[in-house]
Structures are given as structure tokens and as C-alpha cells.
Symmetry: C2
Subunit: 330 residues, 2 copies
């Protein structure tokens, strides 16, 4: 079709997972996520309602998110899939990629073929940042409910911000919990597999499961100074007992309306335990570091496209700087 | 970040515009679009609400569409941008790309870096297919309101289905209309630049403009047997006088709720000239070819993600077959 020659060409860069992983250092991700959470709290972002497709025959779903932080030179579109029959085929369950676009010309700039890792890391960074700010400084004991990738990353990224003296891991599947504990120990963390009551009884508790009903009753959180809930990221999911929110002096959300719609915060509001306006944006708490850290707090995260945009933008900047550096084979 | 090595890798193919354009023959696009329109009419598709971002500083916007035809091995996510300050930078206004995903594993399969051309072609194919089916067979005269790329493509693709004896072109900018007429003539079409009344007075009329108010009054459509309206693809746009719909024996829409929301059909419904249920899916009319073609008809197109999905899938199949063929340099 001859007419295409009339058009300007996009100079679209393609980066594979190895390249993305090398550029995506923890400091870079922490910085991008922190900036995006603050921008989102200050309403300097655009985050359209995500798109969602389902594939019942393959037990799969696909979420498409987009985000833009005003004043950024870039915006991003992210495709994330979860196909739960994949394990039977020897394939990973989760996959996806990010597309970085120019916010000044609309041109596609880069495909970050990250297999979903940037999402995992930005979620870990967002959780770790708010867990660190809302947990009393002297606390170094963490209980983790969940033994999957995100449970692992939440602990490892938090350990970067605040050295953890003790990690108690509970998982629905004991072997997964044992594997996670081994991994933590190999990396020098003092980790132990426990029952759910012991893990929930820690001073700082992180939940990162795919649960659809509260993991444990409210009374189990005997010592908790802070709880971060990561798992409930779509309608129907739930990790925390809703009445726990009534005890919280501070409720932090990454996106007010999204957490109302499909986070644990929304479940608590609908159950009548807290008012719809009881939450504070995570970005505000990160910016002000103003909390006195003495009250009990809960952070509820559902995942915001603005974080993807800033992470993709920062990774691309690092990769592009790399490309501009010494002439080398690619 | 060492943990990434644990994961399976996506075998993501990347195709540039030249490759896409070579694979995207008119018969292939016509076939895919026809199939998708029929599937959509039969509710065998998933088409989430599109996402939309705006970039006021750059006079830009971005639409993200997704689509899936059930039983297809693929689904697609499409990014389309329009940045209207680009022309001042010597760049094209429209850009974008398509991402083809596996509907069985969720893996990203291919980036079709088409700079938005597949959208232009699938829109041309959809318009031409329904214009051909709804216009009386003996009619070979077409009036075109608009002188942009889509006006050009609508005529050229319709000419593939039904040889056109005469094309009358009206454009808001006379020089653009003159250029389009020259192009048509070079390609052997009997084209002439006319006033808007003459073009609207043709037996078959196609509108493909970015107008926000009706282009001309209802009485101007003196001879029209059929009108296809392409331009109104978002809220606020409008090409046809709403009362024209009251004259139509058949109203065809590519997506009922989308055309209600931001097509000319919706404008006519809100103005009280037709009932909300007065339309028939384009795919039904294509499948049945059941119209008697005697009554006056209007087709309203707003663009459906299911078409993108089937077009991307068909192009990928052609490209993959090509790759599987003789071993050659790529």
C-alpha cells in the first residue's frame, strides 16, 4: 500500500526484560514511585478508568492501565495479563509489557517488554514506602500474610528502607511459605514460617494474597502498629476484616476512588465501619512525613497507572542515557 | 535484579510499518473487518470502554482501545494519538500502534508499529463495506464531504467493491480538495471538486470530516439513496443534520451504544428525530445482505476495538506465515 511512504516514521525502541531489569534499580524505582504517588495525591496526574477483558476458557484476564503525570515528557500504557491455566502448560501465569509514549508529540517511544516485572517492582516500592512512613521507627518486626512473589518483594523492598530484625511468614500453602523463608534466609533475613495468628500478631503486618474473604478476624492483630494491604486489587477481593478500619487513626490509599471501588477500604466503607472520606492519599503522607507514627494505621493499595507511567519514563531515561553513552554493540 | 531470570520469556515479534503495509492487503483487511463487524453484531466480541487521555499543552489526545472476537486466538490493544500541534513541528498529526496478544496464554505476541495506518484502513474497509451494501446497485456516483486521508480512503476502498463512475469532492479547504481530486484522477477515478451542495446532492454521500456542527442542512441531500458518516467519533462531533435520520428507512451503526454516545445517530436521538432503538448493527446488514436497497439509509461509524483485533490478528497471521516461509534475511 504505497501511500504509507508519505508518512513520518516512529523511532520506536524495543527493550527486553534483561535490559529493563538492569536499568530498573531499586533507587530508580523508589524515586519514580514516590514522585508519582505525590503527583497523584496533588491531582497532577491523568489516570483513565482501566480496561478489562476476560478469557473464561483459558481462566485468563487482561487489565490495561494508562497514566500520565502532568509535566512529564512521557505517558504510558500498560498491558498486564493473568492466565491461571498457564501453569499447567509450564508457563508463567502473569505477563505483560509497558509502552512509553511521548506526551509532546504522541509518538510511541519504547516497548518495555518486562513480562510484568515493572508492575511487581512498582507495587513493592509503593508498599514499602508507605509501610516505612507509617510504621513507628523503632519497629523492625514484620508479619507477612502471603507467600507469593508480591509478599516476597514487599519484605525485600521494605528491608532496603528499614533493616528488618525478624520476618514471620504465613502462607496458605506451607511449602510456598517454607520456600519463601529459605529465600529470605539465603539473603540474610531472619525469617521464620509461622501460623497465621503469629504473623498477624506482629507490630507491622503486610498482606499480599489473592484472598476473596478476610484472612483472619480483627482480634488477631494484637500488636499491630501498621498494616499494609496489597492483595485486593479488583472487585470481590478482600484481605482485611472490615472492622479493623474502625481502629485506624490513619487510613492511606493510593487512589481514593479505586480503593473505594475494589480495595479493602471500600469493603470497610460498605460495611459501615468507616466513612467514605476517612482516607488520606499515600502521596500526601509521603510528602509531608507528617504522621506522628503513634496511632494505628492501615495502607490500602490497588495499583495506579500514574506509577507505571513514571516508572516506565525513568527506566526509559536510564536506558536512553545508556544508549547515548559509549558506542557498543547492541 | 537477579530474580527475573526465573521467569519464562515472551517471544515478542516486532513489525515495522513497511512489513505491516505489505501484509495488509485490501482483501485481507476487508475479510477481517467484515468478520469482526458480524461477530460484533452477534455479540461474540468483548470491547471494553476505551480509555482517553488529553494533553492540552500539545493540543493532543490519546485513545486506547481493546478488542477481542470470541474464538479468536488473539486479542489486541491499540494506542492512537492525535497531536494537532505536530504539523508546526513538521511531524504527522496521527500516530499509534497495535499490540497483538495471545488469548490463550496472555502473552504479548507482536507489536505492529503501523503509525495508525491499520486504523485508517479498517475504518475505510468498514465504511466501504456498508456503503456498498446499503447503496442501490446501479448507483455509481459518490459525493464526498471532506478532503482528508479518510475521505480519500473511503472512496478508494469503495471503488474496489463497486467501480465509481463519478466522484464529487468538497473540502473546507479548497487546496486540499484540489489535491485529493488530482490524486483520484491520477488513479483513474473521474473526480471533480464541487461546492458542498453538489457533493451532498449525490446519490451516495460520504462524510469524513472533523466537524462539530452539521455540515449542511437536510434539504441539500436531494438525491441521496445512502449516506455514510465517518467523522463523528467522539462526543461533541457532528456531521449530519439530525433531522436527516427521520427520513431513513435503515440506520446502520457499528456499535449501538458508542454511536448513541458520540455518533451522529446519538445527536439525532437526543434531538428527538429517531428512537434510540431505530438502528441495526452494520454486521447484521453485511451478514444478511437482506436490505431491499430501495429505502434511504444512513450508516454511522464510530470505530470498534473488535475490528482492530481482527485486523491485527489477520496481519500477524500473514506476517507469521511469511516468516515461516523461505529462510531469508530479516
Amino acid at each position: 500500500m504505497g501511500e504509507v511512504a508519505e508518512r513520518a516514521r516512529v523511532n520506536l525502541e524495543y527493550f527486553n526484560l534483561d535490559q529493563v531489569a538492569e536499568a530498573a534499580t531499586k533507587p530508580l524505582i523508589f524515586g519514580a514511585v514516590r514522585g508519582a504517588l505525590i503527583a497523584h495525591a496533588e491531582r497532577r496526574t491523568q489516570v483513565p478508568e482501566p480496561m478489562h477483558l476476560t478469557f473464561p476458557d483459558a481462566d485468563g484476564d487482561c487489565h490495561v492501565k494508562a497514566g500520565y503525570c502532568l509535566d512529564s515528557p512521557h505517558f504510558a500504557v500498560k498491558i498486564a495479563t493473568g492466565f491461571y491455566a498457564n501453569s499447567r502448560l509450564g508457563l508463567e501465569t502473569n505477563d505483560g509489557l509497558m509502552l512509553l509514549m511521548s506526551a509532546t508529540t504522541g509518538s510511541p517511544l519504547a516497548v518495555l517488554a518486562d513480562n510484568g516485572w515493572l508492575t511487581a517492582w512498582r507495587t513493592a516500592a509503593a508498599g514499602a514506602l508507605i509501610t516505612d512512613v507509617l510504621t513507628s521507627p523503632q519497629i523492625s518486626e514484620v508479619g507477612v500474610l502471603g507467600a507469593g512473589l508480591q509478599a516476597q518483594l514487599q519484605v525485600e523492598w521494605l528491608h532496603e528502607l528499614r533493616p528488618l530484625a525478624r520476618v514471620m511468614v504465613w502462607g496458605r500453602h506451607e511449602d510456598a511459605a517454607a520456600r519463601l523463608v529459605s529465600r529470605f534466609r539465603r539473603n540474610g533475613l531472619n525469617a521464620v514460617a509461622t501460623g497465621i495468628s503469629e504473623a498477624a500478631g506482629a507490630e507491622c503486618v503486610i498482606t499480599a494474597t489473592a484472598a476473596h474473604t478476610p484472612l483472619i478476624h480483627c482480634g488477631a492483630f494484637t500488636a499491630a502498629n501498621h498494616v499494609t494491604a496489597i492483595g485486593a486489587d479488583m472487585p470481590g477481593k478482600s484481605e482485611l476484616p472490615p472492622e479493623l478500619f474502625a481502629r485506624a487513626a490513619t487510613i492511606a490509599t493510593d487512589d481514593h476512588s479505586q480503593c473505594l471501588k475494589h480495595g479493602d477500604f471500600g469493603n470497610a466503607v460498605r460495611a459501615g465501619w468507616v466513612r467514605e472520606t476517612a482516607d488520606t492519599p499515600i502521596g500526601t503522607l509521603l510528602r509531608d512525613e507528617a504522621t506522628d507514627r503513634r496511632g494505628f494505621s492501615i495502607a490500602d493499595l490497588t495499583g495506579v497507572g500514574a506509577l507505571d507511567a513514571q516508572v516506565a519514563s525513568a527506566v526509559f531515561a536510564a536506558l536512553a542515557a545508556d544508549l547515548d553513552a559509549p558506542p557498543t554493540t547492541r
